[in-house]
């Protein structure tokens, strides 16, 4: 593979890694504006991360090595996943892994997070990880089925080839399959990233928390690594939502013009989705934990119908 492509793959991954905190900032700022508050500055997540990186971390004396390696394991899974996701260019390091690897890289992060939360033996940690496991066990089939419908449409499980094929086919592939799979994936995005109908990302002190409950034992540098990994995860989910299901505008070749269009459209799309997430979060209350399975079952049904629609309506 030529040098130039490698360069762009790294550039793409770096863009994803660098923009991740900004997206959180955009979501928070939009929510603040909608609630007529002034809100923190857009770059506040960066300042927080830098501040946390400068502090030492306190680790419970009962904690084992799991607590020490979990933040690194989470961050590494997310960075590897970022290599596989096309952002503004369909060329990725896709030769390393496909959609299914991607699902399990996300699962890997969750696995380490849940184990680390159980490790120190605090009550909140165990509660948070059991809740997180419930949500993820219910949402994983939906994500896999949504990905399978993409794989059926394009005949490949490689994300970069699939998104290139969808772009090349024009608007021909828009149909029940793609739309149903996209809506299932948006619900999955909210569930996997602990956004509002499932979990409130702003609370630290309530019994309702899922994700934050798992991070309570962490401080300083380890906390920064964990938080940064979650930010990258949200960014990756948003990128996949656009570029696997509705990738139009992404650059399929290394030409200056199409790269510029790809990069501009990518930024626009991601910011749009961030604003939509902020709108959803300000217009909804958090669901009760025992109501969540119904929405998750909804996502599963939508993804299942996407696959069935492919066989009936498009495979003729």
């Amino acid at each position: 593979m030529p040098m130039l492509e490698f360069l762009f793959i790294f550039l793409q991954t770096l863009t994803l890694l660098a923009l991740a905190p900004l997206i959180i900032g955009v979501i928070r700022k939009t929510k603040a504006v909608l609630q007529s508050r002034k809100g923190p500055p857009l770059l506040q997540p960066y300042y927080d991360l830098i501040k946390l990186f400068h502090k030492g971390s306190v680790i419970s004396k009962d904690a084992s090595w799991m607590t020490t390696i979990a933040p690194l394991a989470c961050l590494i899974s997310m960075v590897v996943a970022a290599l596989l996701v096309p952002a503004f260019l369909t060329t990725t390091a896709g030769f390393m892994g496909d959609l299914i690897v991607l699902v399990y890289l996300f699962a890997n992060m969750r696995f380490f997070m849940a184990l680390a939360a159980l490790d120190a033996g605090s009550t909140f940690g165990g509660m948070g990880s059991s809740r997180e496991m419930m949500v993820s066990a219910l949402i994983e089939p939906a994500i896999l089925l949504a990905f399978f419908s993409i794989a059926l449409l394009t005949g490949t499980t490689s994300l970069s080839i699939a998104s290139g094929l969808i772009v090349d086919s024009g608007a021909e592939l828009i149909g029940p399959t793609l739309i149903l799979a996209f809506s299932a994936f948006i619900i999955a995005l909210l569930a996997e990233n602990s956004r509002i109908p499932f979990d409130n990302p702003a609370t630290h002190l309530e019994l309702t928390m899922t994700h934050e409950g798992m991070l309570l034992e962490y401080s300083g540098r380890d906390l920064a690594l964990m938080e940064y990994a979650s930010m990258i995860k949200l960014m990756l989910f948003m990128t996949i939502a656009w570029n696997a299901f509705l990738p139009w505008g992404i650059a399929t070749e290394l030409r200056m013009g199409s790269l510029l269009i790809g990069a501009g459209l990518f930024l626009l799309k991601v910011f749009l989705l961030a604003v939509i997430i902020a709108l959803i979060e300000s217009s909804m209350a958090k669901m009760r934990l025992f109501r969540q399975p119904s929405l998750l079952a909804g996502a599963f049904v939508l993804a299942f119908l996407a696959v069935v629609s492919y066989f009936v309506l498009e495979a003729m």
Binding site: P176, I179, S294, F300
Partner: protein, 218 residues
């Protein structure tokens, strides 16, 4: 251009199906009514696109009537009935949401399976929408039997009607205009009468639960 219209039709059919599945999952009456309005809106747009592709001008009239009556007028009537009665806003299904969603997935598969031979035989551009419309009819019928309150049953009846209407559009590019007009007017009057009926049920039993109606004796 024609390809674009087929894409638009498929997309709108997907929107109708999506809102039918949504109707199955919703727990609040007001959201239920707005989901129904959304479904009728996509149905009206579907009729307009079909009219555009096939050149049958009366489909545009049908589209305007569908959007006007089913997406605007009927939801506002239902909302005002709910406001006047002031009942609790929960839907109270007799089956829990996850299991009814899974059943609705089964219904969609059944609808697709039944429509499959018809799609293969017919050469019409909207044949794909037929499978979706059968699924919507089945989902509407299922919502009707699985909900206990009178208003949700009214909405379910309207969803079934939407499914039948979509089948008519996708099979024969719509019925003659006079039939269409009659059906729309019928639905409107039916909703008005059902509104009064719901009001009376509420007055008599102090609740909208139709299972109380089993106690009727002469």
């Amino acid at each position: 251009m024609a390809e674009m219209a087929v894409n638009a039709m498929n997309g709108l059919a997907a929107a109708v199906l999506l809102s039918a599945v949504l109707l199955m999952a919703i727990g609040r009456m007001r959201t239920l009514v707005s989901a129904f309005a959304l479904q009728s809106l996509s149905l009206g747009l579907l009729a307009a696109v079909v009219g555009y592709t096939t050149g049958y001008m009366h489909m545009f009239v049908v589209a305007v009537i569908t959007i006007g009556v089913k997406a605007l007028l009927i939801p506002s009537i239902l909302n005002s009935v709910m406001q006047r009665i002031g009942v609790s806003k929960e839907v109270e299904p007799s089956l829990r949401a996850p299991s009814s969603l899974l059943i609705s997935a089964g219904m969609v598969v059944l609808g697709y399976y039944v429509a499959q031979p018809l799609i293969e035989k017919s050469g019409s551009v909207t044949a794909g929408a037929l499978a979706v419309s059968l699924a919507v009819v089945l989902i509407g019928l299922f919502i009707m039997i699985s909900r206990r309150k009178a208003i949700t049953q009214v909405v379910a009846l309207l969803v079934t009607e939407n499914g039948i209407f979509m089948a008519a559009i996708s099979l024969g590019y719509g019925m003659p205009l006079i039939v269409e007009l009659g059906v729309s007017f019928d639905v409107l009057v039916a909703v008005l009468i059902m509104g009064v009926l719901v009001f009376r049920i509420n007055q008599t039993f102090d609740s909208l639960d139709t299972s109380f109606l089993r106690r009727l004796r002469d």
